[in-house]
């Protein structure tokens, strides 16, 4: 592993919903005590199902939201402690690509305006001569510069989103399920483009996804999250999982090969509400290996430093 670009230290985020003069607010721990590092040039995948806190983590890393506790350092600078002005300056070094290509572009802005925004936001003049180059980098024709988002397909919009993220040559790009709302054929295009860009520009990616198959294809290291906490970090894509949840995720991923048909062993049990987590391991309610111990105490992320897992009964 190379020198860390991002260091995440015991990061937590609590959300409150509802509440008023008389109503008690409902509290949810979206991210619980997460510590991670992302090396320079690394592609770190974060995988988990809906509500596991992976998108919150992505936003915390960029400090689009403020953490309840913990620190994030970017290239040695603690961004969770930066002043708004300093943070704004810092933002040119990190960018984000969003899940929904439809709502991530202002419907009233042309592509040229969309791509000029990173410069305007940083208070810099936009060099218009860079426009064709920026579009070409993501595989879009220069003629599209005056188009509006609604004239583009989903894949094209996502390319624009990527071009916007790359406009100021950032070091880190956070990819928040960039292909989740696209067709598989387009998803593959975008993944190929992202891989290509990373190779050419030496980018560091934090790649958020629910698709373990995709993450295993695309990433160097994989963080598995369940209900706000990291349950396992796979040091590379071929390591066998040790956490029962990672195992279940892997089992749920069907290979496009009828020859490898196998019996489906789905998880049973219900996911606990994030607003009312039971004591102990959050996965215990669905875990085939769960013991009373699991239901009482919360397992810490431990074991091998290179392949930590949070489980009392790892595989």
């Amino acid at each position: 592993m190379t020198a860390p670009l991002i260091q995440i230290d015991r990061l937590s985020k609590r959300f409150q919903s509802g509440g008023g003069i008389f109503a008690k607010p409902r509290v949810m721990m979206a991210v619980r005590d997460v510590s991670l590092t992302i090396g320079k040039g690394e592609v770190l995948g974060v995988v988990g199902e809906s509500g596991c806190g992976k998108s919150t983590l992505a936003r915390l890393v960029l400090r689009l939201i403020d953490p309840t506790a913990g620190r994030v350092s970017f290239d040695g600078t603690e961004i969770t402690a930066l002043s708004p002005a300093a943070l704004r300056k810092m933002r040119r070094r990190m960018a984000m690509v969003f899940q929904d290509p439809y709502s991530s572009l202002d419907p009233r802005h042309t592509l040229a305006e969309v791509l000029a925004e990173p410069f305007r936001a940083q208070g810099e003049p936009f060099p218009p001569d860079r426009l064709p180059e920026m579009l070409a980098a993501v595989g879009l024709p220069a003629t599209m510069a005056s188009s509006y988002p609604h004239q583009l397909s989903g894949g094209q919009r996502q390319r624009v989103g990527i071009a916007r993220a790359l406009a100021l040559n950032p070091d880190l790009v956070v990819l928040d399920e960039p292909t989740a709302s696209l067709d598989v054929s387009i998803q593959a295009q975008i993944i190929a483009l992202l891989a290509d860009l990373r190779d050419r520009l030496g980018l560091t990616y934090l790649f958020i996804s629910h698709d373990l198959g995709l993450v295993r294809y695309f990433c160097d290291r994989i963080v598995v999250m369940y209900l706000g906490a990291v349950v396992e970090v796979l040091p590379n894509t071929t390591t066998a999982p040790r956490h029962p949840y990672t195992h279940a995720l892997m089992q749920s991923n069907f290979a496009p090969d009828p020859a490898r048909r196998r019996a489906i062993e789905p998880l049973t049990g219900e996911i606990p509400s994030p607003f009312a987590l039971p004591p102990g391991c959050a996965f215990a309610s669905r875990c085939p290996r769960a013991s009373d111990h699991c239901r009482r105490e919360t397992p810490a992320l431990g074991g091998e430093t290179a392949h930590p897992v949070a489980c009392f009964h790892p595989l």
């Binding site: 509802g18 003069i21 008389f22 109503a23």
Partner: protein, 308 residues
């Protein structure tokens, strides 16, 4: 839901206080003085001062307010300065007329509006839809006083079916109810139609068809039920609107009611009466919002869940 209801009722207290402050203070910006109406011409400043003391107008505004509020809470709305009788009496005279007119107009607009909205939605983009929505649009764009006059011209003067004015017997209610009701009908029909069309496009409706339910059962048993939620909510919210909006119609038909009482007292600067009328309407508005919330909770389990 009961704890929610109690909380919701408690929430009305600060709202009521805020509203009462506004109502009380705004009237003191109106130029003119009710005392002028009472004083003998050329009476001495002493007589004037005495009169002010008598009606409590000599004290600072904040003190006047707290006295007034204290009395209101005890059910004492004060004495009308110009009309010289307990405000509660005046309100008691006017309110039943307003409630009768408003209630019937509400009933009329709901029944007719929902009916028209349903027919229009079921015939979406075909001629019955266009005819109904066109008619409803025209109906809602006529100034109510003008509509009232035209109705008088046609039904009272030419045909002689209904009395021209007043509030005596059911006949005198027909034209005013119609005049107010038409505007409300337009609103209800439009919301019903839009909500029906919206609800009909929801996924679960497709599934109902896939279950083999008859279209009529789907439309009336499921789609309409959904469409009625916004209709009922908005109608409840607009109770105060309908009561107060009857002003013009009450004037045109020379009907007694809160509206006419308010207008009259406003022009006479009879503060206690104006305050009481506005307070009544504000209460109606507040109760309307409460009613709207309750209706919504009764009709939609999701809302109910959010409340408890």
């Amino acid at each position: 839901m009961l704890p929610w209801l109690i909380k919701r009722l408690l929430m009305l207290v600060p709202v009521f206080l805020a509203v009462s402050v506004v109502i009380f203070s705004i009237l003191h910006f109106i130029p003119g003085d009710p005392i002028d109406n009472l004083l003998k011409i050329g009476s001495s400043p002493e007589a004037r001062a005495e009169m002010e003391v008598r009606y409590g107008l000599d004290k600072p505004l904040a003190v006047q307010y707290s006295i007034w509020l204290g009395n209101v809470v005890q059910g004492d709305l004060g004495t009308a300065i110009v009309a010289r009788r307990p405000v509660a009496d005046l309100i008691a005279q006017a309110l039943p007329h307003s409630l009768r007119l408003g209630g019937l107009a509400l009933l009329f607009s709901t029944v007719v509006g929902v009916l028209l909205g349903v027919v229009a939605a079921l015939n979406r983009d075909r001629w019955p839809d266009r005819a109904i929505m066109g008619g409803v649009l025209v109906g809602s764009t006529m100034p109510s006083f003008w509509l009232g006059l035209i109705l008088i011209l046609v039904f009272s003067v030419s045909l002689g079916w209904f009395p021209v004015s007043g509030a005596r017997g059911w006949q005198s209610l027909v034209l005013p109810v119609l005049t107010i009701g038409l505007g409300g009908t337009a609103l209800v029909a439009r919301i019903t139609r839009v909500s029906m069309i919206e609800a009909a496009g929801r996924d679960f409706v497709t599934l109902l068809h896939a279950k083999g339910l008859s279209p009529l059962r789907i439309q009336l048993g499921h789609v309409l039920r959904h469409a009625l939620i916004p209709v009922v909510t908005i109608l409840a919210l607009r109770i105060g609107w309908i009561l107060g909006g009857a002003v013009t119609v009450e004037v045109v038909f020379a009907r007694p009611g809160l509206g006419t009482l308010l207008i009259k007292s406003l022009s006479q600067h009879d503060y206690p009466v104006v305050q009481a009328c506005l307070l009544m309407l504000a209460m109606a508005v507040m109760l309307g919002t409460l009613l709207g919330d309750i209706m919504q909770a009764l009709m939609d389990p999701r809302v109910r869940a959010a409340l408890s």
